[in-house]
């Protein structure tokens, strides 16, 4: 018998024996162990069918009749099916579904890591103690919890591989290899020395994580092809028995738009993350992905590529497994029947107010922290609890905490603790960056949890619970408004979970604190002062200056920090030159200590715009700064009149490239009949449509300064 202490690095199915478990030991070794791992799933339904299924399965599985909990139906009779190893599951469940489609199946598609966590208590990336005989695990126990904020840092070995250019633009000539203090460029041609060099680096450094740009779509698919062609081996996996797992690219529809997801290359015994194909990598980086892995139980490579929605679903599955609730393979809950009046009452979103148009001074922005998840936890909103709209406000304290509140509570508490720590740390602290990323990663899980309550394919979703959350949020926002008005504040604007308030003679942060306390006491939800603006502008609609726009504002906090929402600079499709121009104007305005001094800074801003336009006309603006990025919203032949993105895609297609809906097109506006030119095919600076870009800049700048340029600044009454 041997013993090991270390971190659980990864778990996946082994083809012949239970599961493969990778351990990063305290001695610095990477150990591959196996563990016997029988798995259980359930079938329920008509008894006659269940009897037939029993006969169908009895050779291959251990069977028993038992009773288990369905979240919505309650306890029901089920056939318990236990297989000796997880690798058998996929085929057996496919056979069953083909032969007995009328049966309900439970716990049949749960990621293996979640089963492992439930059975052993050891979470992914967690510390554990293992007893093993040869390479077979006898016992494994946890040494920490995913809910701890401080944890022993995992000594990961990271290798970074980046091609010399974006492969979509042209074939890269070399690969930049970076690890520890090594950093060099490895020429792709000739092929053989390239492959030998890469293999040598992998063997020498033995990385835990290969971090790439375009690894999913370029490096790994090509590597496989090159190895085959040349006969030279490159061991990208640590587990030599396994090949790289590839998943094909696809386009799908989510949140009202088509999303394109590139192909994926997953490794075994080692991780691969493609920074260009990892959904939220820009948002919270590796620290955030590792944090999500710890709390959700989904593997690092999955978590990096999937939306936070997959993470929150995994967490709900963990709660279900731990509390003995079966996880249905398909969602069964349809929307309940309701009258038209009831529907009109229920089918609404968060509270969005119409701001008072104009520029206002000394305005405080107050935010509810994690409002929706807090509502779900405080009011016990869960799909199994029948409640519609505001009925949930009359709290039934005798009812046990539901599946969703149980899942969210530790997450919410961990994030609030992290935020508390962040507010206490000095900005120079080396911990702050990592802690901020981890808090952001948790925030995203909390954010999507609300959406998943109302998502039609969510396993534990129910539209009525989703509606109850927004109904309560609207009520609490109105309560907050009333509290503010009672204390003499003017509510300039409210947006879902933020309030903008103002009061004559009140401008210091501390003067707003009694209001915060009063709102907190009324709503029982954590609330924070985002800051006090020297001034904030709520610009009117471009169509009619009398109509307010809810989600467009810009302002300067007392510390000089700029905050903008809904203006061009925040939009992904705005070229950098325009976005930077807009931000530059704001930075001029931020120099004014108060609204009274702003006029003199406006003239600087105007000079700057003219200078930028002269630079553009003289060809001094790099073409990269002018790239417009838009996604292709449908297949090319489905356009009746082509959008700019469609024109760009058409050019790519003519050049023999494949294009798919949801893919991002990068292009610039050019003169002549062509109108746009796709960036990938090369753009000559002389072709640029200067007039169009000048108009874009003018429009963006006018939107900012027009409010100041009226003879008298409106102070918002």
């Amino acid at each position: 018998m041997d013993e090991q202490t270390g971190w659980l690095f990864d778990v996946y199915e082994h083809p012949r024996q239970g599961v493969s478990v990778w351990l990063l030991s305290d001695q610095g070794t990477r150990i591959h162990l196996l563990m016997d791992f029988p798995i259980t799933f359930y079938a329920a339904g008509d008894f006659k069918l269940l009897r037939q299924a029993w006969i169908f399965l009895r050779e291959n599985a251990q069977l028993a009749r038992t009773r288990r909990q369905d979240l919505f139906i309650g306890e029901r009779d089920v056939l318990r099916i236990t297989l000796s190893r997880p690798a058998l599951l996929a085929n057996i469940i496919a056979d069953l579904q083909r032969n007995f489609p009328a049966l309900d199946y439970y716990d049949a598609d749960i990621p293996i890591s979640l089963r492992f966590i439930t059975r052993t208590g050891v979470h992914l990336l967690g510390r554990c103690h293992v007893t093993h005989n040869g390479n077979l695990i006898q016992a494994i126990e946890p040494l920490d919890s995913p809910w701890q904020i401080e944890h022993a840092p995992m000594p990961l070995r990271v290798m970074i591989l980046t091609p010399s250019v974006d492969p979509a633009h042209c074939p890269p000539s070399s690969l930049k290899v970076k690890y520890e203090r090594v950093e060099y460029s490895l020429s792709v041609n000739p092929l053989r020395p390239f492959l030998i060099g890469l293999q040598a680096d992998l063997l020498r450094f033995d990385p835990d994580l290969i971090l790439t740009d375009h690894g999913d779509t370029w490096l790994f698919p090509n590597l496989a092809m090159w190895c085959k062609e040349s006969g030279q081996q490159v061991d990208v996996n640590r587990d030599r028995e396994k090949d790289v797992l590839t998943r094909r690219a696809n386009s799908y529809f989510a949140y009202g738009q088509v999303v394109y997801r590139g192909a994926q290359a997953h490794l075994f015994g080692r991780w691969h993350i493609d920074r260009k194909n990892a959904m939220m990598f820009n948002e919270y980086g590796l620290d955030g992905v590792l944090e999500q892995t710890r709390v959700t139980g989904l593997g690092v490579q999955e978590m990096a590529r999937k939306s936070p929605g997959a993470g929150i679903t995994a967490m709900q599955m963990l709660t279900a497994l731990k509390t003995g609730v079966m996880v249905p393979m398909h969602k069964q809950q349809a929307e309940g029947r309701k009258t038209l009046t009831r529907l009109i009452q229920a089918d609404r979103g968060g509270l969005i107010y119409q701001p008072i148009i104009g520029i206002h001074r000394d305005v405080a922005q107050i935010d509810f922290s994690s409002m929706y998840p807090s509502i779900m936890v405080n009011y016990n909103i869960s799909p199994e609890n029948e409640s519609v709209g505001l009925d949930a406000l009359s709290l039934d304290v005798t009812r046990p905490s539901g599946l969703i509140p149980q899942t969210l509570k530790p997450l919410l508490e961990k994030r609030l603790q992290m935020k508390q720590m962040l507010s206490e740390l000095s900005t120079k602290d080396c911990e702050i960056k990592s802690l901020r990323a981890r808090a952001a990663a948790l925030k995203w899980l909390l954010v999507v949890c609300f959406g998943y309550l109302g998502y039609k394919n969510a396993r534990f979703g129910r539209i009525e619970s989703h509606e109850a959350v927004t109904a309560i949020s609207r009520e609490l926002m109105l309560q907050a408004k009333e509290v503010a008005e009672d204390l003499g504040f003017t509510v300039l604007h409210m947006y879902v979970d933020s309030l903008f308030v103002q009061k004559e003679g009140v401008k210091d942060q501390s003067q707003f604190l009694p209001l915060l306390d009063a709102i907190r006491a009324q709503t029982k939800i954590a609330i924070a002062l985002d800051g006090v603006y020297r001034w904030i502008a709520f610009p009117p609609s471009r169509k009619d200056a009398r109509i307010p726009v809810p989600n467009r504002y810009f302002g300067i906090f007392q510390n000089g920090e700029i905050k903008v929402r809904g203006i061009e600079a925040r939009r992904r499709d705005t070229p950098r030159w325009v976005a930077n121009g807009q931000l530059k104007i704001l930075s001029y305005l931020s120099k004014a200590a108060s609204l009274d001094e702003i006029q003199s800074y406006l003239s600087h801003a105007r000079e700057f715009v003219e200078q930028e336009k002269r630079k553009l006309k003289a060809g001094q603006v790099p073409v990269q700064e002018l790239i417009v990025t838009q996604s292709l919203s449908r297949a090319l032949d489905a356009y009746r009149s082509p959008s700019s993105a469609a024109r760009a895609a058409g050019q790519l297609q003519s050049a023999g490239r494949e294009v798919a809906p949801g893919q991002f097109m990068h292009f610039v506006f050019v003169r002549g009949a062509e109108r746009v030119r796709v960036w990938d095919l090369g753009v000559d600076a002389r072709m640029i449509d200067v007039k169009r870009y000048c108009e874009m800049l003018d429009r963006a700048v006018t939107g900012l300064v027009s409010g100041f340029e009226t003879a008298e600044i409106r102070l918002g009454i």
Partner: protein
Amino acid sequence: MIIMGRTVITITQQLTETESMLAPFRRALRRSDQYIFDGIFAAARRHITAIGQNESLLPFESALLAIMLEQAKDIAALQHEIEQIKQRNG
């Protein structure tokens, strides 16, 4: 436009629909009156939250109230101004 998972149209959309229903009416107005007419709808749009909060099957009734509210506000502001002018002129 794609409306995700919603079965009831929003107040903003309902107002836009009413406005386009009234397009022939608006067209027959003089240009100067058209500007005032658009202002009436702008007034309703400043109270979309309140109109929605009423959860009525006929939100245009509430929209009319919002329009009257804005008019009453204008009148109050004008009255206030007249009072001040009167006081200044003794």
